[in-house]
């Protein structure tokens, strides 16, 4: 391929394009179908999150973190409150910890469902996308039942939670998990093991582990490249050390380690692990206790700074917070996993066809709300 070189054509994929997962613009140089150079342009969704934070109190920042990675708001809340709590040296109660883990893992499933569905749609399969959205709705129902919102929850507070679990939540969650487990297999049969899908994704967009680390790619994308790195295990936070779960890593079952198929596969396996974590947490969940008893009256972290990472569905979600003892932070920096993943796009997608670029972009699972902040 690519023996005959004609003039290159410059193609703008986005900002309005069905497969850019938001408003992303890719300036693509193409030689026929082959893409020779990709330049991503971001910032169409820039909402001055960091500037906002400098003018808000610590608890007012939480609803803004929701809007960064709007697919997994719970995990963003989680990352932020864990960071501020460490800065303030607050230790929350057992019940709060358990509920947080349940919510974060449920949201991880919801986020992965969306990622897999849209990836499927990028390679042309529409039906799995709707199956996954159907299941995601059930998780959103659980969230709505808990905190009244379906997408942007503002559920976790510094030192507690905004609402206690409603009566019947545990049963409904078990019901959902029982319903959902067979659906993963169905979706896998329908899409992941389909020969056309394997052809489209195996060996495509290989992200070698050293490149991935150099580009700061984390989360399922890094694990797809065969690196066993998960903050839930490696840099333990909250109460993740109490749960028994595996970290799936890509093995190159259908092609090379680190191809699009591996990234897809890692996400499906992670959903299964998350189900296991939710089950364990539900079993251990303490019933007594007020979820707001430890919420401080005034949130004024001591002078200092902290960088803390948590595992969001897209990878290491880092918060760098500088406090000067006032109720508003001096600086909140959000280190977004999708930002680094997108920066690796041009390294792995050059030399592939246009259709592959779309597939690779889908496999990286980017959320523009978080990239642009």
């Amino acid at each position: 391929m690519g023996i005959v070189h004609g003039d290159e054509m410059v193609l703008n994929i986005g900002p309005q394009h069905p497969s850019t997962h938001g408003v992303l613009r890719l300036k693509v140089h193409t030689d026929g179908e082959i893409v020779s150079k990709i330049t991503p342009y971001i910032g169409y969704l820039h909402r001055c999150f960091e500037k906002h934070c400098e003018n808000l109190t610590y608890e007012q920042v939480i609803p803004f973190t929701d809007r960064c990675d709007y697919i997994s708001s719970m995990n963003n809340n989680f990352g932020y409150v864990v960071t501020v709590e460490e800065l303030m040296d607050i230790h929350v109660s057992e019940k709060v910890e358990h509920i947080r883990v349940i919510m974060a893992e449920l949201n991880r499933i919801a986020s992965h469902l969306l990622a897999l569905g849209t990836f499927g749609m990028d390679v042309g399969a529409f039906t799995p996308f709707l199956y996954m959205f159907r299941d995601r709705e059930n998780i959103l129902d659980l969230f709505e039942m808990t905190c009244g919102a379906r997408l942007l929850y503002n559920y976790m507070w510094i030192g507690g939670l905004s609402h206690d679990l409603p009566v019947g939540f545990v049963e409904k969650t078990y019901e959902f998990l029982d319903y959902f487990e067979p659906k993963i297999k169905e979706n896998d049969d329908l899409l992941m093991y389909n020969k056309i899908f394997i052809e489209r994704t195996a060996d495509v967009g290989v992200l070698p582990p050293e490149v991935a680390i150099s580009y700061g790619v984390t989360g399922p994308n890094l694990r797809g490249s065969g690196v066993q790195w998960d903050l839930r295990k490696d840099e333990q936070y909250s109460i993740y050390d109490r749960f028994d779960f595996e970290i799936p890593v890509g093995t190159g079952q259908m092609g090379t380690v680190g191809d699009c198929w591996d990234r897809y596969w890692v996400r499906t396996q992670e959903m299964k692990e998350s189900i296991g974590i939710v089950r364990q947490a539900l079993k251990q969940l303490p019933t007594e206790g007020d979820v707001q008893e430890l919420v401080p009256k005034k949130i004024r972290p001591p002078k200092g700074s902290i960088y803390k990472r948590t595992e969001s569905p897209r990878g290491d979600l880092g918060f760098y917070i500088i406090s000067d003892g006032k109720p508003t932070p001096v600086r909140v920096k959000l280190r977004s996993p999708a930002f680094t993943a997108l920066s690796a796009l041009s390294a792995i997608a050059e030399g592939w066809m246009i259709s592959d670029v779309i597939a690779i972009l889908g496999s990286l699972d980017i959320v523009l709300g978080e990239i642009d902040r």
Partner: protein, 193 residues
């Protein structure tokens, strides 16, 4: 050659597996259907019962509502709002004047002449609800949900419709207190619910 045939076989078998799944859904649509015919049917409001204090406390965040009878004009909700969508103005009433008590038996000291909420700016974070000492601002479905219908569609034909004025004070009352106490304060626009 073996791989070639294997590939063909894999294509055929995996295609048949996929097709059987979609066919199963096609045939079992009566059982599997998840569509809601929206305007006719509505999504059931999730039941919420947190057990202790509020038996029917529903947390659905659909629209902010203020019970003006209970508002003491403490500005706590306005301060908690990250996007400043609550606008409050108050007038101090002379000492000893009785302008009523709230349902928590707190004496009101300020006359709330303006209490506007701009729902176009609201980000439904619920942060204004918690600091309220009188529990009088809440997302509909809050503590007094029995009094207010819970609805998802607060749709309006123009933007002004989404700015909800809650203040119930009449011009007469404003005049009565502004004349005696703070004459320099400009008269507020009248808001009648």
């Amino acid at each position: 050659m073996g791989e070639y045939l294997q590939n063909i076989w894999a294509s055929i078998s995996s295609s048949l597996v996929g097709m059987s799944i979609t066919l199963k859904h096609l045939l079992l649509i009566r059982k599997g259907n998840v569509t809601l015919q929206y305007p006719e049917e509505k999504w059931p409001r999730p039941e919420r019962n947190i057990g202790f204090d509020h038996k029917d406390y529903n947390v659905i965040r659909s629209k902010l509502h203020v019970d003006m009878d209970d508002c003491i004009g403490c500005y706590k909700c306005a301060r908690a709002c990250p996007v400043d969508c609550i606008k409050i103005e108050t007038i101090k009433v002379p000492k000893g004047t009785d302008i009523g008590t709230t349902s928590n038996d707190t004496k009101k000291r300020l006359l709330v002449t303006r209490f506007d909420i701009d729902m176009t700016e609201c980000m439904y974070c619920n942060l204004c609800v918690y600091p309220c000492p009188e529990e009088c601002i809440f997302m509909t479905g809050g503590p007094n949900s029995s009094k207010h219908p819970i609805d998802y569609e607060f749709s309006e034909y123009n933007r002004e419709g989404l700015m909800y004025p809650f203040a119930t004070v009449t011009q007469e009352e404003i005049d009565r207190y502004t004349d005696s106490e703070t004459p320099e304060k400009p008269a507020e626009k009248e808001e009648t619910a």
